[in-house]
């Protein structure tokens, strides 16, 4: 493969945004090199590739860097035509995918992070928020995502599936272990629960998401070392 068409992904393994990009590359059969970035010590390479945000993930293709995971996913879909189409062809369906992807990414993920970063009453508020938002997602999915003939398999994985499983795949089990909070209850969120179960069964998801024990250790570390001490600051 020529040097210019080489694909490199800079990521940080506990971060779900890089994971979704990895899954997309694998689904499309794109060979790539993965570079683990230690986010506690920003490398020079990262600063030069993403000077605006100084964040991962960053995809480099043809020597050119692309940042922001949702932007990267759309780029991957437009550039490599093998494998499943990450976005549907119909503009209205595309709009719905983008709407819900942004909802999962911004609304749900933010509430989850808030839960990890706080304790006591603030944490309870965050949990309530998260639960309300999951209700909205459950309703939304009913009307657009789950028609009777939709199957979740390697040929039909899309952008919204990747965004969702990267956020909830490991994290919800981690929440149960670290915070003793059950986020995705099969009785309260049946669609979300069965969707997540089906996604977690896919080979590409199983081999890409970090094991739960690793995520638990990571979150526990971050909570002790960074999040909780910040709460006590005046």
């Amino acid at each position: 493969m020529a040097e210019e068409s080489k694909v490199t992904l800079y990521g940080y393994s506990p971060c779900p945004f890089g994971k979704r990009v990895e899954m997309a590359l694998k689904l499309k059969g794109v060979p790539y090199e993965y570079v683990e970035e230690d986010l506690t010590n920003n490398s020079q390479m990262l600063l030069s590739l993403n000077p605006v945000h100084k964040k991962v993930p960053v995809l480099v293709h043809n020597g050119k860097p692309i940042a922001q995971s949702l932007v990267i996913l759309e780029y991957i879909d437009e550039t490599w035509k093998n494998g499943p189409q990450l976005l549907p062809k119909d503009p209205y369906k595309r709009a719905q995918v983008r709407f819900w992807a942004s909802f999962v990414q911004q609304q749900l993920f933010e509430s989850m992070l808030k839960e990890f970063k706080t304790k006591g009453e603030t944490q309870e508020e965050a949990s309530k928020e998260l639960f309300e938002k999951l209700k909205l997602l459950e309703e939304g999915l009913k009307s657009f995502y789950f028609d009777s003939d939709r199957s979740i398999d390697t040929e039909h994985v899309g952008l919204l599936d990747l965004v969702f499983v990267s956020v909830f795949g490991s994290y919800h089990k981690v929440q149960e272990e670290v915070l003793s909070v059950k986020t995705i209850d099969p009785e309260k969120s049946p669609l979300i629960h069965s969707w997540l179960t089906a996604l977690l069964d896919l080979p590409v998801v199983k081999e890409t998401l970090p094991p739960v024990e690793k995520m638990v250790a990571h979150i526990k570390f971050f909570r002790q070392r960074f999040y909780l001490p910040q709460l006590n600051d005046p």
């Binding site: 293709h61 940042a67 939304g140």
Partner: protein, 222 residues
């Protein structure tokens, strides 16, 4: 003949204005419905049950919410006068800047509701940093973010060309000046001269009065 297009908006909102700009730029006919945000309509609640916010675009009765999602839909549905580059990397670049602009909203929000003192100095400093990034890395040496003509990035950042001046006036700090941000300052002038933009801006006096009362409410609520 396209099925009915409706825009549910709010006259002072830059978010509903960008949708109007995109439709006008493409010559798409639409009906505009002004929403009273203090008394939200059934239509709004039904069309955007998740956020209950404007703007909402309805096409043939089907609703789409979130301005960035709406803009991409408009681009894909009416490809005339394209507002996104054809090439994948350039499209990714454009989308990056649209997202960047959206993420930095709170930075400008902090400036808008700040009062004189340390808090405001910091807010002004943060806002200036964002503007510098937009000028140096987003705009570069181009006339518009879209190059020689406007594109979705210009529309997404269009609020800087009209609404931001109201913020500057209310906090009495001028950030976009020809001496400090020459290219961005030029962009503001050029953007405002684009016919579709020029003919579709809320009245400045009315907007200033509206933003002043919002600001006062936010400050007293702190």
């Amino acid at each position: 003949m396209e099925e009915g297009v409706k825009v549910v908006g709010f006259w002072p909102s830059p978010y509903s204005q960008k949708v109007i700009w995109a439709l006008k730029q493409k010559g798409v006919a639409y009906d505009y419905i002004e929403e009273d945000l203090s008394n939200k309509s059934q239509l709004l609640m039904k069309s955007n049950p998740v956020y209950k916010k404007i703007p909402v675009l309805l096409h043939g009765g089907k609703p789409i919410a979130e301005s960035s999602v709406i803009l991409e839909y408009i681009e894909e549905t009416w490809p005339q006068n394209p507002l996104l580059p054809k090439e994948a990397y350039e499209r990714a670049s454009a989308r990056f800047w649209i997202q960047f602009g959206a993420e930095k909203g709170p930075t400008f929000g902090s400036l808008f509701t700040s009062t004189a003192g340390e808090e405001q100095d910091k807010a002004a400093k943060d806002a200036l940093e964002v503007l510098k990034i937009l000028e140096e890395q987003g705009l570069g040496n181009n006339k518009f973010f879209g190059g020689d003509s406007i594109n979705l990035v210009d529309l997404a950042l269009g609020w800087l060309a009209h609404w931001f001046q109201c913020i500057e006036e209310l906090v009495e700090i001028k950030l976009i000046e020809p001496t400090t941000l020459p290219r961005l300052h030029a962009w503001v002038e050029n953007f405002n001269q684009v016919p579709v933009i020029h003919e579709n801006l809320p009245d400045k006096k009315r907007l200033l009065a509206h933003m002043k009362s919002i600001r006062e409410m936010s400050i007293s609520a702190k």
